[in-house]
Symmetry: C2
Subunit: 444 residues, 2 copies
């Protein structure tokens, strides 16, 4: 299955397209992607995933073998299959730039396209926007806590599949991580790749110090040694003992890695051992079930740790593994629409978000209003794709990373709290409220 | 990036391979994949993912452009790149059949291969085994609660990427779900695909009943209508009113779908409305943030719901989004090994799991012992791949699904509890304990 197959969608999109085509309902529809409410442990989110959405839309098509397979299911009529075979994405995309901080009920991305196209793409568009937004937002919490530390994504093995591992590396790097252990993320996105050694390297040697020596000789520019396989402090002493012989070969021991036990306690003892042994420049790197909560604890304890590998909790966003997000019809054939399902009512019509700032440049509040209303503040949704084509060169990953850093620094300080942060003010404009009332009165 | 690229691995695998090749450490290594401990809300797990692991191993190789990219990083020496370019998987795989119920400290899959091969595959092997095991185990909890109901995977949009959506469809079907909404899962795995309609279909029509009629005409064999866009009970009445006209065209209204509000309450009211209107055969299908806990509540309330779409909570395993699993070196060059890191010590050597049954066929207890020890009971690990080739035709998905059903029915009834279930007894044999002692005494 190709990663952007048109069949990577929910079946109901195809049954609905069957209805739309039969009724010639192909006028322009407007859908918006947004988050209904935040998880308890999130005070803001970062909009990430646009680059992958654009790539998906640009290549969208049903391959001949996919049409043939659909035909075999007998769920789709032959006349409709012909329409599907010819379908391409010809619409417009408005979106917040990747890395923009956003809040509930704010449209992050708007699709304006003939109804069947705008409908078909729903499932994969959410799939792509949801995941990277989830991971970038999670990653940024560690970044804000530890901007002067080395932060590396270690999560590939417990990420939910291969694409999740790759996109988690991208999303966390974009949010301020220094790199990833996932090699493919280096080749795919140019993300710096970090790697040390595993316990198995030590275990395959009969002596731990021999394992250290062999690793150093093989990777002379990248000597980071894992010291918790048997006894952490004894291993640190072995490193001190080994250092002069390596030094004679021109090899420096760059760092040691801790992966188990009381990390703060081990780090203090290991730091003392290394310093006493003349290895003041050898850094301490820690990993092992770390998340932002544990990170905050280690920083509060002043653990002498220079860098962190953050894996499972990051790549699965373990404390909040999903967002309550949606991609909803806001307008069809020029008429604003909304659903009113209990607990899931949406604001109708095409919308814009305006951001207002304090004099010091910090964020003050946002206004969500109808797209053509006049409003002060900075409009966040920008036209990115028109008629199915991206209209201007998109920012490179390093530029997005820098933009994201500025977004994070612009957040009200109170939103940095790991839990129980206050709500950021999002004002729904009177124009939008009036439109909602009008839509409700017109709907039977 | 190809889905099974050899670069879909952690960088430390490559830095370690550099050491192994330089030291000519290419003797046979034995690694085992296992789970250290269960999440609080899991009493058992189902081993799933073997088919994808075998496919990964059979095609494992570095493509020329990947070697070239690695060369550009200057992290790997040219002589080692030549070894990588020639690397293929030539080892053996022993594994529990897919769908087997298993418990902490039981090896689920064992790799026996030259050290560099066995090491390199760690990251992707865990990535594949972890995720499907996670999802199948989660899905089976709903299956055990509601075996007589239709259960459909609705999770693609909030699955963590495209591969996660596809593999979640496979894992949940294997665990007893009836199918998935993800179309690509139908084409990739032959899984039955289900689809109805979304709110947008209703919203694009000016009248709700017209939307119902259009959908029915377009999908005459698959009329399941979503009735909560505006007012659930009023929509149910519209369905009753519409039925005779459709009937005259030979179209039956197969079902209605509820997606919000108090599902039990709505289902009871809608059932009464449908029955009164002569639509006793029209089923009620429910969706909307459902998981096994909510399912248990709906069943306890005797909600007249015939089927459930279970999405986000299933595809993200939201109450337990990861497993504490590992792939650890157990033997190298004929000598058993283990790590003793705090809280992470493992049982050494190649092992086998023997399952013991009650006279009624139900599971009684398991024994984990060294692979060559004699032990009563049924050995669970089987030789599946030898010298890099699968040795016998693997079971088809429907066969695995049937086997899994039997596994679930063989579980002690107490393990069906959604939380606070007792531990299933897993005995560590005296031979294995003796081996661990011996290994510790030999390791410096």
């Amino acid at each position: 299955m190709k990663e952007n197959s048109a069949l990577l969608t929910d079946m109901y999109q195809l049954t609905m397209l069957q209805g739309y085509y039969e009724q010639s309902m192909e006028e322009i529809a407007v859908f918006e992607f947004f988050v209904r409410k935040l998880p308890k442990t999130r005070a803001y989110l970062l909009a990430v995933g646009l680059e992958q959405v654009l790539a998906y839309l640009e290549q969208l098509h049903f391959a001949p073998e996919e049409i043939e397979w659909l035909d075999g299911t007998r769920l789709i009529k032959p006349a409709i299959l012909d329409r599907l075979a010819a379908l391409r994405f010809t619409g417009d995309v408005h979106a917040m730039p990747e890395g923009t901080a956003f809040f509930p009920n704010e449209p992050v991305l708007r699709i304006t396209a003939p109804l069947p196209e705008a409908q078909l793409i729903e499932s994969r568009l959410i799939n792509l926007m949801h995941f990277q937004t989830l991971i970038a937002s999670k990653a940024s919490r560690s970044v804000l806590l530890a901007e002067n530390k080395l932060l590396v994504d270690f999560g590939m093995r417990r990420a939910h599949g291969g694409e999740a591992a790759l996109l988690a590396a991208r999303a966390s790097y974009l949010a301020g991580f220094d790199g990833s252990a996932t090699v493919a993320a280096g080749m795919s996105f140019g993300i710096p790749v970090y790697g040390t050694m595993a316990h198995s390297f030590v275990q395959t040697h009969n002596q731990e110090s021999q394992a250290f020596e062999h690793f150093a000789l093989a990777n002379p520019d990248n000597v980071v040694l894992l010291i918790d396989t048997y006894d952490t402090e004894r291993a640190a002493q072995k490193i001190v003992d080994l250092a002069p012989a390596l030094e004679a070969e021109g090899i420096k021991i760059k760092g040691v890695r801790l992966d188990s036990g009381d990390l703060a306690d081990h780090a203090k003892k290991v730091r003392a051992l290394l310093d006493r042994g003349g290895l003041q420049d050898t850094t301490i790197f820690a990993s092992g079930s770390i998340d932002e909560y544990q990170l905050a604890g280690l920083i509060a304890q002043k653990a002498p740790i220079d860098g962190f590998g953050i894996g499972t909790h990051l790549d699965t966003s373990a404390d909040a593994p999903y967002l309550d997000c949606a991609y909803k019809l806001q307008e069809y054939a020029g008429i604003a629409r909304r659903k009113r399902s209990e607990g899931k009512a949406t604001w109708p019509g095409r919308k814009q978000v305006y951001r207002h700032y304090h004099d010091n440049g910090g964020m003050s509040f946002d206004t969500v209003t109808v797209a053509d209303a006049s409003c002060s503040g900075q409009p966040l949704l920008q036209l990115i794709m028109q008629g199915g084509k991206v209209i201007a060169p998109q920012p490179r990953l390093l530029e997005i990373r820098e933009y994201t850093r500025n977004q994070l620094h612009g957040l009200p300080v109170a939103l940095r709290k790991l839990s129980d942060a206050p709500d950021y003010p999002v004002v729904i404009s009177s124009e939008l409220k009036a439109l909602a009332k009008q839509v409700d009165e017109q709907t039977l």
